[in-house]
């Protein structure tokens, strides 16, 4: 069995990949994916915790977190579509009518 700490370690790496991606990439879709990666890092932890503590809650958390992620992506894409329909861009830098 893999040590919990290894799984957590992987989670950390994933999380930071996601986080760094989130503020380095301009394309909103990619950022959305980065967010997914971060959420999955959390899921990994939940799974690891669940198996570590033999606690069923962790599994439930994971399942619900995945559902949340799905909802988030759905909403995100919808919002991006509406952004695209008005500003014809989904670049995070270019959509900056609102500032200061």
């Amino acid at each position: 069995m893999i040590e919990t700490s290894w799984i957590v370690g992987l989670g950390v790496i994933l999380f930071f990949i996601g986080l760094i991606g989130a503020f380095t990439r301009k394309n909103a879709i990619v950022v959305l994916m980065c967010i997914e990666v971060m959420l999955n890092a959390a899921n990994l932890n939940f799974v690891a915790g669940a198996s570590h503590y033999s606690d069923v809650d962790g599994w439930v958390f994971t399942a619900i977190a995945i559902a949340i992620a799905a909802a988030e992506v759905a909403i995100g894409l919808a919002i991006l579509l509406s952004l695209y329909s008005t500003q014809e861009t989904i670049s995070l830098d270019e959509a900056n009518i609102l500032k200061n």
């Binding site: 989130a22 503020f23 380095t24 301009k26 909103a28 950022v31 830098d93 609102l98 500032k99 200061n100």
Partner: protein, 758 residues
Amino acid sequence: MGESTNEWNLLAPIIPFVLVAPLLYAQGWESVEAAFLIVVIPLLTFPAILVAGQIYNGNETWKNRFKEGGIFGLGALASSLSISLWIVYDYVAGSSHFEMHSVVEPFSWLTFDVIHYDGSQWDVSSGFADIGVGVWLDPVSLMLLFVATFLCFLICWFSLGYMNTDPINEDSNHRFYGEFVLFAIGMFGMVLADNFLWLFIFWEIMGLCSYLLIGFYYWKDSAAAAAKKAFLTTRVGDVFLMVGLLMLYDIYGSLEFSIIFDDPSTGVGGALVNSTDLNWALLMLFIGAVGKSAQFPLHVWLPDAMEGPTPVSALIHAATMVNAGLYLVFRMVPFVDVHVNGVAGLEDFALVVAWIGGITAFMAAAIAFVQNDIKKVLAYSTMSQLAYIFTGLGAGLLFLNLGEYHAGYFVIGASMFHLFNHAMAKGMLFMASGSVIHEVHHAHHHLHHDDHDFDPQDMRNMGGLASKMPITSIAMMFGSMSIIGIPLIGGFWSKEGIIAETWLAYLHKEPLMLGPAILVLATAGMTGFYMTRMWLMTFAGPPKSDVAEHVHEGTPWIKEPLIILTVVTALGGFLLALLGAVDYLGGEKDHLAMHGVVDTLKHAFLPDDNELRAIGWSTILLAAIIGPIMASRVHGGKLAEGVKANPIVGWLVNLSSKFGSQDVSEMANSQLAEALQRRLYFDDLYEWIVANTAIPFASFSAWFDKNIIDGVIKQIESNSVSGSVSVRGITTGSTRDYILMAAVGMLSIFALIWGVSA
């Protein structure tokens, strides 16, 4: 009397005022109990005049029947005069005598507590009295009260003729009478006040009225400036006077005359009074007196004050208010009188008083040499004569402080007597000059309606008026004689004593008195010159302009006071001298008693002391002979052909022409004359100082406040705005930046939490 006899019926409204004193007497009042009414009746009258004048302005009855309020003013002053005469009668002729206490118990005006540190702890000081207000009378204040009420009444009478006939004053005379009566309140109050604070309060009221009345012709730039100058200059003195009061209060725990004079050597709580402290306090008070009495170096306001209407100059700036400073110095006598509880070691202060007096006397007389404005001559003469009195008081204080109380009392009495003589004479002289100006102005108005450059006060436009204005010329002659000190007339009786005692002080006591002694002696001769010059330029010689030819004496109301004062000036001095006024005022005798005529004359002309005799005769020589003769050589001359002066002055005109004429144009153009014309540059100096220090500093302060103090606030404001803009700039609008910022924030939180937990 006057042009229309029915003018007398205008006086009907004053009857009830005059009846106040008899009625109170009938009610069984003591005269001193009524003393407060001297102040209160005018106090009630003056607002009535002002308000009624404002309301009824232009109303015919108001203007003709009530003389725009003048009648009511006269009434109030008449009642004051009657009460004061009642008091004078009680004290001088009656049985009342003065003692060392207020004649009316003071009313407690301000009550308060004072705490002090006794070396180990704080506690209530018991010795500090409340500030009250009451009435105080002694020979000098009685004399001054009489002078004030008498002259106020006469000059108000005079004003009815002088002010109300000048179209320029039309519809504003109520202002004049209101302020005039207010002034009277100040003067009466100051004289009656039983403590230094109320003396100061009324003193300031007089200052206010002086300001208001100098600025009576408010639209004239020169009058406005003169009024301001007068108020500010005296204010400088007043502030020091106030500081002096604070010091006195701290020393004695009271400002009541009765408490302080009871024992000036012990202060509050029985502590011995330190002469240094007292010296400073008296010096501060003296600065106030210098300001009020227009002495060097705060003299600059008085000549300018002549911008006011002539009755104002007569009353305030010659006869009454300017005496306040003298009165204040006189009040210092108990402090220095080591014979009765005085504090030794105040000779320096006495010297300062004498020196200031000597310097001013000489300086003012010198400047008077070159004045052509009749009122300015009189103004400088006033300064000079007041300075005499200061010198006398200085000498007196010196004598008293050194224990020579007979000489001290004598010279102080002489000084106060000179105050009386001078007030009467100078009040009359100003009224007479007013009469001249009034008529010259009238004549000019009659002849040239449009010419506004003519100066009716300039003596170079006059000449030969002796024939046109008999009463005025007589009055002026007696007044001048009194001021000059022509033997037997008015001022002679007092001036002689001052000069002589000043010399004695030098000879026997204090070498430093030499300066004042020489200065006052020289001034005596100079007085003879400039007063004669004034009279001659005005009344003798041929008319110097066509206006002067058409002058005639006519206006009613003006002559009566002149005549009364002429009599008082001509005879009053001698009479009072016979009664021993000097000793009475000096405090050596507590009643007036008739001396023999021979004794009196002998005392004046042939004293036993050789020194005194020498000084006396040299004074007479200088003042009565050399000065007038020199003036006659320059300005004397016969009247125009075919006109004759009345015999009372005619001899003088003729006499003056006997000395031939001397051309002084070279002297008149000299640098010294220029300097005198420029009043020895004091005004210029003060103006320069103010313009180069106070005004730039004030502008700088305003700038500083606006740009530095408020600038800091504005800087905070603008920094906030620029900070706001830059902070808003961080919100770039790019989502990536927002996420980055969140990540940075997260890391910072980690760092902080980690740092705290480790």
